[in-house]
Protein backbone atom coordinates (compact mmCIF):
# COMPACT_ATOMS: atom_id res chain seq x y z
CA UNK A 1 0.00 0.00 0.00
CA UNK A 2 1.22 3.43 0.97
CA UNK A 3 4.91 3.78 0.68
CA UNK A 4 7.00 4.96 3.63
CA UNK A 5 5.92 8.53 3.19
CA UNK A 6 8.67 10.96 2.45
CA UNK A 7 11.22 8.26 1.85
CA UNK A 8 11.41 7.79 -1.90
CA UNK A 9 12.48 4.38 -3.11
CA UNK A 10 15.06 4.23 -5.87
CA UNK A 11 14.06 2.00 -8.79
CA UNK A 12 16.86 -0.46 -8.18
CA UNK A 13 15.92 -1.25 -4.58
CA UNK A 14 13.70 -4.25 -3.97
CA UNK A 15 11.79 -4.63 -0.74
CA UNK A 16 13.02 -1.30 0.47
CA UNK A 17 14.59 -0.39 3.77
CA UNK A 18 11.54 -1.25 5.80
CA UNK A 19 12.05 -4.96 5.37
CA UNK A 20 15.72 -4.67 6.20
CA UNK A 21 14.91 -2.76 9.37
CA UNK A 22 12.51 -5.47 10.46
CA UNK A 23 15.04 -8.15 9.67
CA UNK A 24 17.60 -6.43 11.85
CA UNK A 25 15.15 -6.17 14.72
CA UNK A 26 14.35 -9.85 14.37
CA UNK A 27 18.01 -10.78 14.16
CA UNK A 28 18.74 -8.72 17.27
CA UNK A 29 16.05 -10.49 19.31
CA UNK A 30 17.35 -13.81 18.08
CA UNK A 31 20.96 -12.99 18.89
CA UNK A 32 20.16 -11.60 22.34
CA UNK A 33 18.31 -14.80 23.14
CA UNK A 34 21.05 -17.05 21.88
CA UNK A 35 24.23 -15.22 22.80
CA UNK A 36 23.27 -12.65 25.38
CA UNK A 37 24.02 -8.97 25.47
CA UNK A 38 27.78 -9.32 25.54
CA UNK A 39 27.60 -11.58 22.51
CA UNK A 40 25.18 -9.41 20.58
CA UNK A 41 27.63 -7.31 18.65
CA UNK A 42 26.78 -5.55 15.43
CA UNK A 43 28.72 -8.19 13.57
CA UNK A 44 27.01 -11.06 15.37
CA UNK A 45 23.55 -9.61 14.76
CA UNK A 46 24.28 -9.08 11.09
CA UNK A 47 25.57 -12.64 10.84
CA UNK A 48 22.40 -13.99 12.45
CA UNK A 49 20.19 -12.21 9.97
CA UNK A 50 22.43 -12.75 6.98
CA UNK A 51 22.69 -9.01 6.69
CA UNK A 52 25.36 -6.43 6.25
CA UNK A 53 26.85 -5.10 9.45
CA UNK A 54 27.22 -1.55 8.24
CA UNK A 55 23.51 -1.21 7.52
CA UNK A 56 22.79 -1.13 11.25
CA UNK A 57 24.29 2.32 11.46
CA UNK A 58 22.51 3.47 8.36
CA UNK A 59 19.10 2.38 9.66
CA UNK A 60 19.41 2.78 13.42
CA UNK A 61 22.33 5.08 14.01
CA UNK A 62 23.89 2.91 16.70
CA UNK A 63 23.47 -0.57 18.08
CA UNK A 64 21.99 0.80 21.29
CA UNK A 65 19.15 2.23 19.29
CA UNK A 66 18.82 -1.13 17.63
CA UNK A 67 18.56 -2.78 21.06
CA UNK A 68 15.80 -0.40 22.06
CA UNK A 69 13.99 -1.03 18.79
CA UNK A 70 14.21 -4.76 19.50
CA UNK A 71 12.86 -4.28 23.00
CA UNK A 72 10.00 -2.20 21.61
CA UNK A 73 9.13 -4.90 19.13
CA UNK A 74 9.17 -7.82 21.53
CA UNK A 75 7.35 -5.76 24.17
CA UNK A 76 4.61 -4.85 21.73
CA UNK A 77 4.17 -8.49 20.76
CA UNK A 78 3.97 -9.67 24.35
CA UNK A 79 1.65 -6.89 25.39
CA UNK A 80 -0.92 -8.20 22.94
CA UNK A 81 -0.83 -11.57 24.66
CA UNK A 82 -0.87 -9.99 28.09
CA UNK A 83 -3.90 -7.94 27.33
CA UNK A 84 -5.78 -10.83 25.79
CA UNK A 85 -5.02 -13.13 28.71
CA UNK A 86 -5.70 -10.61 31.43
CA UNK A 87 -8.81 -9.04 29.97
CA UNK A 88 -10.48 -12.42 29.88
CA UNK A 89 -9.93 -13.06 33.60
CA UNK A 90 -13.04 -12.53 35.73
CA UNK A 91 -11.88 -13.87 39.07
CA UNK A 92 -8.68 -14.02 41.06
CA UNK A 93 -8.32 -17.68 40.18
CA UNK A 94 -8.61 -16.95 36.49
CA UNK A 95 -6.11 -14.14 36.83
CA UNK A 96 -3.57 -16.44 38.46
CA UNK A 97 -4.17 -18.94 35.70
CA UNK A 98 -3.52 -16.25 33.11
CA UNK A 99 -0.32 -15.24 34.86
CA UNK A 100 0.96 -18.80 34.75
CA UNK A 101 0.20 -19.03 31.05
CA UNK A 102 1.90 -15.71 30.39
CA UNK A 103 4.91 -16.81 32.39
CA UNK A 104 5.40 -19.89 30.25
CA UNK A 105 4.86 -17.95 27.05
CA UNK A 106 7.41 -15.35 28.11
CA UNK A 107 9.99 -18.03 28.67
CA UNK A 108 9.23 -19.83 25.41
CA UNK A 109 9.18 -16.70 23.32
CA UNK A 110 12.45 -15.56 24.85
CA UNK A 111 11.05 -12.12 25.55
CA UNK A 112 12.21 -12.26 29.13
CA UNK A 113 15.64 -13.29 28.00
CA UNK A 114 15.87 -10.19 25.84
CA UNK A 115 14.63 -8.06 28.71
CA UNK A 116 16.99 -9.65 31.21
CA UNK A 117 19.95 -9.05 28.97
CA UNK A 118 19.06 -5.42 28.51
CA UNK A 119 18.41 -4.91 32.21
CA UNK A 120 21.85 -6.24 32.91
CA UNK A 121 23.26 -4.02 30.23
CA UNK A 122 21.35 -1.00 31.42
CA UNK A 123 24.04 0.58 33.53
CA UNK A 124 26.57 0.11 30.79
CA UNK A 125 24.85 2.70 28.67
CA UNK A 126 23.83 6.12 29.87
CA UNK A 127 20.08 6.58 30.04
CA UNK A 128 19.33 3.00 29.14
CA UNK A 129 17.92 2.21 32.57
CA UNK A 130 15.26 4.85 32.26
CA UNK A 131 14.32 3.75 28.78
CA UNK A 132 13.90 0.15 29.88
CA UNK A 133 11.98 1.27 32.91
CA UNK A 134 9.58 3.11 30.63
CA UNK A 135 8.99 -0.07 28.69
CA UNK A 136 8.12 -1.99 31.85
CA UNK A 137 5.66 0.63 33.03
CA UNK A 138 2.83 -0.66 30.78
CA UNK A 139 3.06 -4.04 32.53
CA UNK A 140 2.46 -2.44 35.90
CA UNK A 141 -0.39 -0.45 34.46
CA UNK A 142 -1.98 -3.55 32.97
CA UNK A 143 -1.51 -5.49 36.20
CA UNK A 144 -3.12 -2.71 38.20
CA UNK A 145 -6.13 -2.61 35.90
CA UNK A 146 -6.62 -6.35 36.12
CA UNK A 147 -6.23 -6.44 39.88
CA UNK A 148 -8.58 -3.53 40.28
CA UNK A 149 -11.20 -5.20 38.15
CA UNK A 150 -11.01 -8.50 40.00
CA UNK A 151 -10.54 -7.48 43.63
CA UNK A 152 -10.88 -3.71 43.49
CA UNK A 153 -14.22 -3.53 45.27
CA UNK A 154 -13.41 -6.00 48.01
CA UNK A 155 -12.23 -4.94 51.46
CA UNK A 156 -8.86 -6.45 50.59
CA UNK A 157 -8.20 -3.48 48.32
CA UNK A 158 -8.19 -1.21 51.33
CA UNK A 159 -5.55 -3.27 53.06
CA UNK A 160 -3.44 -3.73 49.95
CA UNK A 161 -4.09 -1.14 47.23
CA UNK A 162 -4.05 -2.47 43.64
CA UNK A 163 -1.39 0.07 42.76
CA UNK A 164 1.08 -1.37 45.25
CA UNK A 165 0.07 -4.94 44.62
CA UNK A 166 0.67 -4.43 40.91
CA UNK A 167 4.21 -3.28 41.56
CA UNK A 168 4.85 -6.28 43.74
CA UNK A 169 3.41 -8.63 41.15
CA UNK A 170 5.59 -7.23 38.39
CA UNK A 171 8.69 -7.38 40.60
CA UNK A 172 7.90 -10.94 41.65
CA UNK A 173 7.28 -11.90 38.07
CA UNK A 174 10.52 -10.37 36.86
CA UNK A 175 12.50 -11.99 39.66
CA UNK A 176 11.02 -15.39 38.94
CA UNK A 177 11.78 -15.18 35.26
CA UNK A 178 15.33 -14.08 35.92
CA UNK A 179 15.96 -16.85 38.42
CA UNK A 180 14.45 -19.45 36.12
CA UNK A 181 16.62 -18.09 33.36
CA UNK A 182 19.71 -18.44 35.53
CA UNK A 183 19.47 -22.04 36.59
CA UNK A 184 17.22 -23.28 33.83
CA UNK A 185 14.94 -24.96 36.34
CA UNK A 186 11.29 -24.15 35.82
CA UNK A 187 9.91 -26.47 38.44
CA UNK A 188 10.12 -24.08 41.39
CA UNK A 189 8.24 -21.39 39.49
CA UNK A 190 5.65 -23.91 38.36
CA UNK A 191 5.19 -25.00 41.95
CA UNK A 192 4.56 -21.42 42.95
CA UNK A 193 1.91 -20.98 40.28
CA UNK A 194 0.25 -24.18 41.35
CA UNK A 195 0.26 -22.97 44.92
CA UNK A 196 -1.22 -19.63 43.88
CA UNK A 197 -3.91 -21.41 41.90
CA UNK A 198 -4.72 -23.38 45.04
CA UNK A 199 -4.93 -20.32 47.25
CA UNK A 200 -6.78 -18.00 44.87
CA UNK A 201 -10.24 -19.49 45.44
CA UNK A 202 -9.75 -19.29 49.19
CA UNK A 203 -8.79 -15.64 49.02
CA UNK A 204 -11.74 -14.92 46.75
CA UNK A 205 -14.01 -16.56 49.30
CA UNK A 206 -12.50 -14.52 52.13
CA UNK A 207 -12.81 -11.26 50.23
CA UNK A 208 -15.70 -11.50 47.80
CA UNK A 209 -15.61 -8.88 45.09
CA UNK A 210 -18.33 -7.51 42.80
CA UNK A 211 -17.77 -10.10 40.07
CA UNK A 212 -18.38 -12.90 42.51
CA UNK A 213 -21.36 -11.19 44.08
CA UNK A 214 -22.93 -10.36 40.75
CA UNK A 215 -22.50 -13.91 39.45
Amino acid sequence: MAKPGTKGRPPGAKGGGRATRAQFVEATIETLKREGFAGASARAIARTGGLNQSLIFYHFGSINDLFLAALDETSARRMESYRAAVDGARSLAELVDSAARIYREDLESGHIKVLAELIGAASAVAGMGRQISERIAPWTHLAREAIQRVVGASPAAALLPPEELAHAVVALYLGMELLTNLDGDRSTAEALFNRAALLAPMLSALFPGPTQAGG
Copy 2:
Protein backbone atom coordinates in the same frame (compact mmCIF):
# COMPACT_ATOMS: atom_id res chain seq x y z
CA MET B 1 53.74 7.75 36.10
CA ALA B 2 54.78 4.91 38.34
CA LYS B 3 52.54 4.61 41.32
CA PRO B 4 53.63 4.14 44.90
CA GLY B 5 52.36 1.57 47.36
CA THR B 6 53.60 -1.98 47.61
CA LYS B 7 56.13 -1.43 44.92
CA GLY B 8 59.09 -1.27 47.27
CA ARG B 9 58.30 -4.61 48.86
CA PRO B 10 61.19 -7.06 48.69
CA PRO B 11 60.76 -10.06 46.43
CA GLY B 12 59.05 -12.98 48.06
CA ALA B 13 57.54 -10.85 50.81
CA LYS B 14 54.68 -12.61 52.54
CA GLY B 15 51.23 -11.19 52.02
CA GLY B 16 52.16 -9.16 49.00
CA GLY B 17 50.12 -11.28 46.63
CA ARG B 18 47.21 -11.62 48.99
CA ALA B 19 46.90 -7.88 49.40
CA THR B 20 46.96 -7.33 45.66
CA ARG B 21 44.31 -9.99 45.18
CA ALA B 22 42.08 -8.31 47.71
CA GLN B 23 42.65 -4.96 46.08
CA PHE B 24 41.59 -6.34 42.74
CA VAL B 25 38.43 -7.81 44.22
CA GLU B 26 37.63 -4.50 45.84
CA ALA B 27 38.33 -2.59 42.63
CA THR B 28 36.11 -4.99 40.69
CA ILE B 29 33.17 -4.45 43.02
CA GLU B 30 33.73 -0.73 42.82
CA THR B 31 33.93 -0.73 39.03
CA LEU B 32 30.89 -2.96 38.57
CA LYS B 33 28.91 -0.59 40.75
CA ARG B 34 30.07 2.51 38.97
CA GLU B 35 30.35 1.44 35.36
CA GLY B 36 28.41 -1.77 35.03
CA PHE B 37 29.46 -5.06 33.55
CA ALA B 38 30.10 -3.74 30.07
CA GLY B 39 32.31 -1.04 31.51
CA ALA B 40 34.19 -3.32 33.87
CA SER B 41 37.09 -4.25 31.65
CA ALA B 42 40.38 -5.49 32.97
CA ARG B 43 41.89 -2.14 32.21
CA ALA B 44 39.06 -0.22 33.88
CA ILE B 45 39.28 -2.36 37.02
CA ALA B 46 43.00 -1.91 37.22
CA ARG B 47 42.60 1.83 36.80
CA THR B 48 40.05 1.94 39.62
CA GLY B 49 42.38 0.18 42.01
CA GLY B 50 45.53 1.90 40.83
CA LEU B 51 46.84 -1.52 39.87
CA ASN B 52 48.49 -3.14 36.93
CA GLN B 53 46.15 -4.65 34.39
CA SER B 54 48.32 -7.65 33.63
CA LEU B 55 48.27 -8.81 37.25
CA ILE B 56 44.64 -9.82 36.89
CA PHE B 57 45.67 -12.71 34.71
CA TYR B 58 48.51 -13.64 37.00
CA HIS B 59 46.28 -13.78 40.07
CA PHE B 60 42.92 -14.86 38.70
CA GLY B 61 43.58 -16.38 35.31
CA SER B 62 40.79 -14.46 33.58
CA ILE B 63 38.50 -11.59 34.32
CA ASN B 64 35.52 -13.93 34.58
CA ASP B 65 37.20 -15.62 37.50
CA LEU B 66 37.79 -12.20 38.94
CA PHE B 67 34.08 -11.42 38.61
CA LEU B 68 33.19 -14.59 40.46
CA ALA B 69 35.71 -13.81 43.18
CA ALA B 70 34.12 -10.38 43.54
CA LEU B 71 30.66 -11.91 43.77
CA ASP B 72 31.91 -14.34 46.42
CA GLU B 73 33.35 -11.51 48.46
CA THR B 74 30.32 -9.24 48.36
CA SER B 75 27.99 -12.20 48.95
CA ALA B 76 29.94 -13.28 52.00
CA ARG B 77 29.81 -9.77 53.42
CA ARG B 78 26.08 -9.41 52.86
CA MET B 79 25.32 -12.87 54.21
CA GLU B 80 26.73 -11.80 57.57
CA SER B 81 24.27 -8.92 57.70
CA TYR B 82 21.44 -11.13 56.51
CA ARG B 83 22.01 -13.70 59.17
CA ALA B 84 22.34 -11.14 61.93
CA ALA B 85 19.16 -9.35 60.88
CA VAL B 86 17.10 -12.44 60.29
CA ASP B 87 18.21 -14.43 63.30
CA GLY B 88 17.06 -11.65 65.58
CA ALA B 89 13.52 -11.65 64.19
CA ARG B 90 10.99 -13.37 66.44
CA SER B 91 7.75 -12.46 64.71
CA LEU B 92 6.51 -11.91 61.20
CA ALA B 93 6.47 -8.17 61.83
CA GLU B 94 10.09 -8.20 62.94
CA LEU B 95 11.00 -10.28 59.93
CA VAL B 96 9.42 -7.78 57.56
CA ASP B 97 11.26 -5.03 59.37
CA SER B 98 14.52 -6.89 58.92
CA ALA B 99 13.82 -7.37 55.24
CA ALA B 100 13.29 -3.65 54.76
CA ARG B 101 16.54 -2.89 56.52
CA ILE B 102 18.38 -5.46 54.44
CA TYR B 103 16.86 -4.06 51.28
CA ARG B 104 18.19 -0.59 52.00
CA GLU B 105 21.59 -1.93 52.97
CA ASP B 106 21.79 -3.94 49.78
CA LEU B 107 21.12 -0.85 47.73
CA GLU B 108 23.56 1.32 49.68
CA SER B 109 26.34 -1.23 49.65
CA GLY B 110 25.88 -1.76 45.94
CA HIS B 111 25.82 -5.52 46.38
CA ILE B 112 22.65 -5.81 44.37
CA LYS B 113 24.18 -3.72 41.63
CA VAL B 114 27.05 -6.14 41.35
CA LEU B 115 24.66 -9.06 41.35
CA ALA B 116 22.39 -7.46 38.77
CA GLU B 117 25.28 -6.79 36.46
CA LEU B 118 26.47 -10.35 36.69
CA ILE B 119 22.98 -11.75 36.21
CA GLY B 120 22.68 -9.76 33.05
CA ALA B 121 26.07 -10.92 31.97
CA ALA B 122 25.37 -14.52 32.85
CA SER B 123 24.37 -15.74 29.44
CA ALA B 124 27.37 -14.06 27.87
CA VAL B 125 29.67 -16.54 29.54
CA ALA B 126 29.21 -20.27 29.49
CA GLY B 127 28.37 -21.73 32.87
CA MET B 128 28.12 -18.34 34.53
CA GLY B 129 24.37 -18.69 35.11
CA ARG B 130 24.82 -21.81 37.17
CA GLN B 131 27.60 -20.29 39.23
CA ILE B 132 25.55 -17.23 40.04
CA SER B 133 22.57 -19.41 40.82
CA GLU B 134 24.69 -21.30 43.33
CA ARG B 135 25.54 -18.04 45.06
CA ILE B 136 21.88 -17.12 45.40
CA ALA B 137 20.92 -20.47 46.90
CA PRO B 138 22.10 -19.52 50.42
CA TRP B 139 19.63 -16.64 50.42
CA THR B 140 16.74 -18.97 49.75
CA HIS B 141 18.00 -21.28 52.44
CA LEU B 142 18.25 -18.46 54.97
CA ALA B 143 14.82 -17.16 54.04
CA ARG B 144 13.31 -20.61 54.46
CA GLU B 145 14.85 -21.01 57.91
CA ALA B 146 13.58 -17.63 59.04
CA ILE B 147 10.09 -18.21 57.70
CA GLN B 148 9.96 -21.64 59.22
CA ARG B 149 10.98 -20.31 62.60
CA VAL B 150 8.44 -17.53 62.56
CA VAL B 151 5.37 -19.05 60.95
CA GLY B 152 6.38 -22.69 60.58
CA ALA B 153 4.05 -24.02 63.24
CA SER B 154 1.02 -22.03 62.18
CA PRO B 155 -1.72 -23.43 59.95
CA ALA B 156 -0.56 -20.98 57.27
CA ALA B 157 2.47 -23.16 56.71
CA ALA B 158 0.23 -25.92 55.45
CA LEU B 159 -1.36 -23.64 52.88
CA LEU B 160 1.89 -22.04 51.82
CA PRO B 161 4.98 -24.15 52.65
CA PRO B 162 8.03 -22.15 53.83
CA GLU B 163 10.10 -23.69 51.06
CA GLU B 164 7.92 -22.21 48.35
CA LEU B 165 7.37 -18.96 50.17
CA ALA B 166 11.12 -18.55 50.51
CA HIS B 167 11.57 -18.87 46.77
CA ALA B 168 8.87 -16.30 46.18
CA VAL B 169 10.40 -13.92 48.70
CA VAL B 170 13.83 -14.13 47.11
CA ALA B 171 12.36 -13.64 43.62
CA LEU B 172 10.30 -10.68 44.79
CA TYR B 173 13.28 -9.22 46.54
CA LEU B 174 15.50 -9.59 43.49
CA GLY B 175 12.87 -8.12 41.21
CA MET B 176 12.35 -5.14 43.49
CA GLU B 177 16.04 -4.40 43.70
CA LEU B 178 16.46 -4.65 39.96
CA LEU B 179 13.52 -2.37 39.26
CA THR B 180 14.69 0.15 41.83
CA ASN B 181 18.09 -0.02 40.25
CA LEU B 182 16.62 0.68 36.82
CA ASP B 183 14.64 3.81 37.48
CA GLY B 184 16.45 4.96 40.59
CA ASP B 185 13.17 5.45 42.41
CA ARG B 186 13.07 3.84 45.81
CA SER B 187 9.72 5.17 46.86
CA THR B 188 7.60 2.36 45.40
CA ALA B 189 9.69 -0.27 47.15
CA GLU B 190 9.56 1.66 50.40
CA ALA B 191 5.80 1.86 50.08
CA LEU B 192 5.66 -1.90 49.70
CA PHE B 193 7.72 -2.47 52.80
CA ASN B 194 5.53 -0.07 54.75
CA ARG B 195 2.48 -1.92 53.52
CA ALA B 196 4.00 -5.24 54.54
CA ALA B 197 4.82 -3.86 57.98
CA LEU B 198 1.19 -2.83 58.27
CA LEU B 199 -0.13 -6.22 57.26
CA ALA B 200 2.29 -8.41 59.18
CA PRO B 201 0.63 -8.01 62.60
CA MET B 202 -2.74 -8.81 61.07
CA LEU B 203 -1.43 -11.98 59.49
CA SER B 204 0.24 -12.96 62.74
CA ALA B 205 -3.07 -12.51 64.51
CA LEU B 206 -4.89 -14.60 61.92
CA PHE B 207 -2.32 -17.38 62.08
CA PRO B 208 -0.74 -17.39 65.53
CA GLY B 209 2.54 -19.27 65.69
CA PRO B 210 4.45 -20.73 68.63
CA THR B 211 6.45 -17.56 69.27
CA GLN B 212 3.30 -15.52 69.67
CA ALA B 213 1.68 -18.12 71.86
CA GLY B 214 4.72 -18.36 74.11
CA GLY B 215 4.94 -14.53 74.18
